[in-house]
């Protein structure tokens, strides 16, 4: 049995760890509330944006446009949104796993645009090539950041450097449910869009849409906006998910620490009782020897 001093030391160290995890939990709870409000208040924009684009493409039929063609050979790009800090349970690792497990994104033919250090490091370990790192963004995402990133990606897309753009992020459902998600931004996934539209059961039998100046020009202008808003929305949701994940992780860490403290308490008491008993035995034995 461990000595009383050892147990005491161990107990103190667990206690201070528990204090830290508890404090971190409280911090991420506050952060979660903030980021959650932000993510929720901007949600209408993204869902509306997605719907508009989807219905636009549906009505325009088989238009030949550079943002719609697919099947070209070339590199793929993926925007991987993770966090700069760990201690958030499986949050970062889930994104890395999601990317590594998807058949379209093999390490050789994929360029990674990483937002978040943890995901970047994880992907490097898996053998991915990091084209650009924007880890600063995730600390405080601005719409402008998303717009800048979009411009860069579209320039590469336009020049044929990359042929498909994916977005990997953790979507935020509620405080405890956040699911890693991989979606294709470009070329626009008509089938997936149609599927979501069907689920919503919206009447799609509206009159033919007119475009000013022309459908192609409007698409040219709107697709970048669509992309930046998707990226921005993903950033906001990712931040909320990160804090949610950290909160849950820290909560269970605190619980574990408390549980361990309880066990150590019992062990400590036993050790103390043991040493007292031993002392008594020794004294009695000593007294007997003298007497």
């Amino acid at each position: 049995m461990a000595s009383m001093r050892d147990i005491k030391r161990r107990r103190a160290s667990i206690q201070s760890t528990g204090q830290i995890t508890k404090a971190m939990k409280l911090v991420s709870t506050v952060k979660l509330q903030k980021s959650r409000t932000k993510a929720e208040s901007s949600k209408p924009y993204f869902s509306q944006m997605y719907e508009t684009i989807a219905s636009m493409l549906e009505k325009t039929g088989n238009m030949h446009h550079k943002y719609l063609r697919s099947g070209a050979a070339g590199k793929r790009a993926v925007i991987a949104i993770t966090s700069n800090r760990g201690l958030a349970g499986g949050y970062n690792n889930n994104i890395v796993k999601l990317i590594a497990a998807s058949p379209e994104l093999d390490p050789i033919g994929t360029k990674v645009f990483s937002i978040g250090k943890k995901g970047r490091d994880g992907l490097i370990r898996k053998g991915y090539e990091i084209a650009e790192d924007y880890s600063e963004i995730i600390n405080e995402p601005l719409y402008q950041d998303a717009a800048d990133l979009t411009q860069e990606l579209l320039a590469e897309y336009g020049s044929g450097e990359i042929v498909e753009i994916y977005l990997a992020y953790t979507s935020f459902k509620n405080t405890v449910v956040h699911t890693p998600r991989l979606m294709r931004l470009l070329p626009f996934d008509k089938d997936a869009a149609a599927a979501t539209a069907d689920v919503q059961g919206e009447p799609k039998s509206q009159a033919l849409m007119n475009y000013e100046p022309s459908a192609e020009d409007v698409l040219d202008k709107i697709i970048p906006k669509y992309m930046s808003s998707m990226i921005y929305g993903a950033l906001l949701e990712a931040v909320a998910s990160e804090n949610g994940a950290r909160m849950t992780a820290m909560d269970s860490a605190t619980n574990n620490a408390e549980e361990m403290l309880g066990k150590l308490d019992i062990q400590y008491n036993r050790a103390r009782q043991g040493s007292i008993t031993q002392e008594l035995t020794e004294i009695i034995a000593g007294a007997n020897a003298i007497g």
Partner: protein
């Protein structure tokens, strides 16, 4: 004229405006347009300009810098990347931006991104135009 339509103005940050209106005026890349209810379906790209919202008996103004608009007979949706009510505009900053842009345009130095300077000037002028 009691004919109204639903107007929805959404920015990435928040729901900017939602309500029933009798007319909306704004600037698109093709020029200024006014939209009454029962307009034909139309999608257009927004250019920097003033957004005028005519409610029944009231008129509201806001700056609308970029985004796009989807018009349906009974509803108008503006997806605005940047939009502000007059009391949200930093007029001092807009004034400075105007001066900067004008100087840049006047200097005609080489490597000048003329289009960008012009856009900046336009934005500043729209914002300043809302000052009372």
């Amino acid at each position: 004229m009691a004919d109204v339509m639903k107007l929805n103005v959404i920015t990435p940050e928040k729901q900017f405006y939602e309500g029933n209106v009798t007319m909306v005026e704004l600037t698109t890349t093709e020029g200024e347009i006014g939209v009454y209810p029962n307009h034909i379906p139309l999608t257009a790209v927004v250019a920097p300009g003033v957004l005028k919202i005519h409610e029944e008996g009231e008129e509201k103004k806001a700056s609308l810098i970029s985004g796009f608009i989807t018009i349906l007979p009974d509803a108008v949706t503006i997806m605005a990347e940047v939009a502000e009510w007059p009391d949200e505009i930093d007029f001092k900053r807009a004034e400075e931006a105007r001066v900067r842009a004008e100087r840049r345009l006047a200097s005609r130095e080489s490597g000048l991104d003329e289009l960008r300077a012009e856009m900046a000037l336009k934005r500043a002028l729209v914002r300043l135009g809302l000052k009372h």
